[in-house]
Amino acid sequence: MSATDAARLDVTQNLNPEKAQETAAVPEAGRNQPAVKIKARNVDFFYGPKQVLQGISADIRERRITALIGPSGCGKTTFLRTINRMYETVKNARADGELLLDSESIFDLALPHLRRRVGMVFQKPNPFPKSIFDNVAYGPRVHGLANGARLAELVEQSLRGAALWEEVKDSLHKSAFSLSGGQQQRLSIARALAIDPEVLLLDEPCSALDPISTAKIEELLFAIENRCTLVIVTHNMAQAARVADYTGFFLTGKLVEFNDTKTIFTNPSRKETEDYITGRFG
């Protein structure tokens, strides 16, 4: 057995058998595939004159977990931030191409509307300087979704949805800063879930967390998957193998390969993918 095979075996041990079943035998187009939630065709992205994404095309499937992997600076986070147009906070940033949410162009949607449908969880837990309750209630209040008892109910549901309710139910009015890092990240997820998004983008949500908190977040992702399409950027290939149904590999601004996770990790069609996955670089 060569060193490459050994490395590959190592990662494939992380492959989730249930996940592998869900997406079994899908490379040949169409069979049993869930609907396309986000469709990207030739998406280019520029910071000023510098092009950072080139011709990204991908179909992100509804109510599945899609992982984006690749070395630092390869454009995976930029692609994620294109989906909810978060890049617009940066001056001179510009996206081109076709990017559809269901059948509507993301670039044509009104921003509050788009971000209500496409939520985001960030690398660093980012609780607002408010109580736990007010953090979760923030989105519903912004969009006028609920108030009074209905709002309290929604907050509880969201915290349960993020597996945080049991830990915080007696301290809802304490500052969110009193929570641990892992709890803060689950609070960020609860906050995003509270406006019932159709898509949830996660930008390396576990990179600041210890392994136990990471495991909790990953379990959580499986629970959320039933209600929401998930796209997760991760540096951790074992994590991608564990949680994702589909995986996209980015390299220097291009989407080199996009397929079901099992294929990417066991039988990649591109040399670069194989090299990255087996740890030859990156």
């Binding site: 978060m86 906070t89 971000r115 960030f122 660093k124 923030y138 989105g139 912004v142």
Partner: protein
């Protein structure tokens, strides 16, 4: 002498020199403070805080009107300078592009260095002359003008320390720019902004020059905002240059009181600020 001994010696000499410089720098402050305590404490009594001034020759009396007057002036200055200054700081940090904020920031930096007597004359020209007499309002306005650039600059700086990912957290939930600013960014910087306001108030509390042409002075209680009003710094000035020992003693006491108040505000706000920085690190 070997290398190590030499290095140890250089180290010892240089740290002694810097320590000496630091000591020399605080000596004037300690000297002033000591002098104030020695000369002022004897006049600090209940009457000093509660009674009006008495005519020369009579003993007793106090500077209650100046204490209340200073409070009144600072309140007016805050009413004028704080809302404008905070709003300006928010604009510079959150909404400014390149052109206008550059000019405003530059103007604010310049305004801080304008001699306070000039600000007094300015307030005289725009408030006192049209109205025709000195007033607490004019004094408050002058102090407010001094407060304004400090509050603008300070507010902007504290808002800029709010991390990008906090703003993005709110924007990602579909909140607009204004909503994000008011509900997330400003609350995150609130302690710093408030501390800055307190420090700015402490700084203008001791200003005399802007009051000479505006609030002027009043030997009695101030009877309305459109009337002249007494203040601690003005009282110190008038009593200090007078020819009477009794007034001199009261001037020392008033100076001690003013310095004490400013010191308390400074120490308290810096404690709050230090605690905030510590909690930020944990979060």
């Amino acid at each position: 002498m070997n290398r190590l001994t030499w290095r140890k010696m250089v180290n010892a000499v240089m740290s002694s020199v810097t320590a000496l410089c630091a000591l020399i720098a605080v000596v004037p402050l300690l000297f002033v403070l000591g002098l104030l305590v020695v000369k002022g404490t004897s006049s600090l009594n209940w009457a000093f805080f509660t009674k009006l001034p008495v005519p020369v020759g009579e003993t007793g009396g106090g500077i209650a009107n100046a204490i209340v007057g200073s409070a009144e002036l600072l309140l007016l200055a805050a009413l004028f300078g704080v809302p404008l200054g905070v709003a300006g700081g928010i604009y510079l940090s959150e909404f400014g592009g390149w052109g206008v904020p550059f000019v405003v920031r530059y103007a604010a930096d310049l305004l801080v260095t304008v001699p306070s007597i000039v600000i007094g004359i300015f307030a005289y020209a725009v408030v006192v002359l049209p109205v025709g007499h000195f007033s607490a309002l004019a004094g408050g306005f002058a102090l407010g003008v001094m407060l304004l650039p400090i509050v603008v600059t300070n507010t902007e700086q504290f808002l800029r320390t709010v991390p990008v990912w906090l703003r993005e957290g709110s924007l990602a939930l579909g909140a607009g720019h204004w909503k994000t600013t008011m509900s997330v960014v400003v609350p995150a910087a609130m302690q710093g902004i408030l501390t800055g306001i307190l420090l700015a108030l402490a700084r203008v509390a001791g200003e005399t020059a802007p009051l000479i042409f505006t609030a002027f002075n009043n030997a009695y209680w101030n009877r309305g905002l459109n009337q002249p009003v007494s203040s601690l710094p003005y009282m110190i000035w008038i009593y200090g240059i007078s020819a009477y020992d009794d007034w001199h003693r009261q001037a020392w006491a008033a100076a001690l009181l003013l310095l004490g108040l400013v010191l308390v505000v400074n120490v308290l706000s810096r404690l709050v600020l230090a605690r905030r920085m510590a909690s930020r690190r944990i979060a």
